[in-house]
């Protein structure tokens, strides 16, 4: 997507503006909006499927589809952030190198694979990292869309902690789960911290 908007064609700026729209929606709204779109009889997905002749599904109340449905929503609302990060990265690339590659006769796919992706390796890595961390603490989508249901099929750590402590009022168990999250995230963050702190030393 970011690649697309780095191209020079009429309306590129407008398109990049449009891509950013999901970012402006309050995440809870996005969650309820998608919940509406997944609605078995009113939702747009089932209506569209009916147009093609397929029968719809109750996306959010079947254990097999509920997680993918939520993930889909999460991807949708994260697209603009990812787009912004990668777009900023693309624009800071050195264009003359790409021009040179073109003169040498590289096709677009070649220059994408051998030049752009290696040059943006670090940005892609950090973007993935950022997304990884925040996915770990996703809460709103799951809580609003399914509240962990059906039958606990879509529970993630944070909704489980919430359910334990604020719906079942078992603060002790909830805190225990919260501590597990804490320890887990500290363990996960140690390599990242080391990487960030010592990166400059390695590069020299």
């Amino acid at each position: 997507m970011a690649l697309l908007c780095n191209e020079k064609f009429p309306g590129a700026k407008l398109l990049s503006g449009i891509i950013l729209i999901p970012m402006l929606l309050i995440p809870t709204s996005a969650a309820t909006l998608w919940q509406f779109m997944y609605h078995p009889s009113l939702g747009i997905f089932n209506k569209l499927l009916k147009l093609i002749g397929l029968s719809g599904k109750a996306w959010l109340s079947e254990t097999s589809t509920v997680l993918s449905a939520i993930i889909f929503t999460d991807i949708w609302s994260w697209t603009p952030w990812m787009f912004l990060i990668l777009y900023a990265g693309l624009q800071s690339l050195n264009e003359s190198i790409l021009e040179a590659a073109k003169v040498e006769g590289a096709t677009y796919l070649q220059s994408l694979w051998y030049m752009i992706i290696p040059m943006m390796k670090e940005i892609i890595f950090t973007a993935l990292l950022l997304k990884g961390i925040s996915t770990f603490s996703t809460f709103g989508y799951v809580q609003v869309m399914t509240q962990g249901g059906p039958g606990g099929a879509s529970h993630i750590l944070s909704t489980y902690v919430y359910k334990m402590s604020f719906m079942l009022l078992d603060y002790g168990k909830g805190s225990a789960y919260a501590i597990i999250v804490l320890v887990l995230s500290i363990i996960l963050s140690i390599p990242i911290v080391i990487y960030v702190l010592y990166r400059s030393r390695w590069e020299k």
């Binding site: 398109l15 929606l25 509406f36 677009y108 603490s137 919430y162 999250v181 963050s189 911290v193």
Partner: protein, 280 residues
Amino acid sequence: MFCIDRDGKNKGINNIMKKGKLILVISIGFVLLWTLLPIYCLIINSLSPISTLGSLFPQTITFEYYTQLFRGSGTIYNVVVNSFIVSIVTVIITILIGVPGGYGVSRWTKGKYIFTGLFILRMIPPISFLIPWFFILWKLNLLDTRIGLIIAYVRLPFTIVLMKGFFDSIPIELEEAAKIDGATFFQTFLKIIVPLSLNGVVVVALFTFIHSYFEFMYAVVLTRVNAKTFSVYIAGFSTEHGVQYQSMLATSFIGMIPMILLYTFFQKYIVSGLKVGLDK
């Protein structure tokens, strides 16, 4: 696409050009569909009456649900005011504490250790601190108040880590020069350092605003009635007895307006903030 578009004036590669154009058009179409389909749904369904709810194309248009939000009991004025007060005060407090904090971490020789600690703190998902916050605010009698929510929203690790990145890029010689010219420490900080890092301050302010405006998890636990923000209010439309979709979608749309304004005015800061945030 890359090469084709820029070589557009060269003749002889017409065939490839056509193929490239086709791919370009298809990908633009896909992007538009991906982004705009939900937004289209949002607007159409917030305008349609209950009888035609969920239809692909609008048959009748009604503004009933928008006017309903501003009339009678349970209006959204309170919610709007809460959201704004909480977000803006959070931004102010964060800036007042976080900016000098970031400066300290950046300039103090032992700041590195503090930075490491803060960085780890930043990685921890907020759910871990939810229960402690709940009990702290309960004991302080601040549950369901704006002040309580603001206290929980001030994110110092994030601010300090980001501001340190901005302060690191200011050469220390500038401060030494100011000292030689006879400026006191506070004069140096306020008249030289802060103006130079103003960009960073705006970025931090923006991200803090967006965070507190969007936040749901803390808001739903720490507020009940009086201090509801937009996120909680919108989620409140979906109950066990079904969802009031139109009112919810209309509220979503109203909640989107401040973000649209914010984004149009501060677009370049968001992009530059992401760049710096990635570096650190």
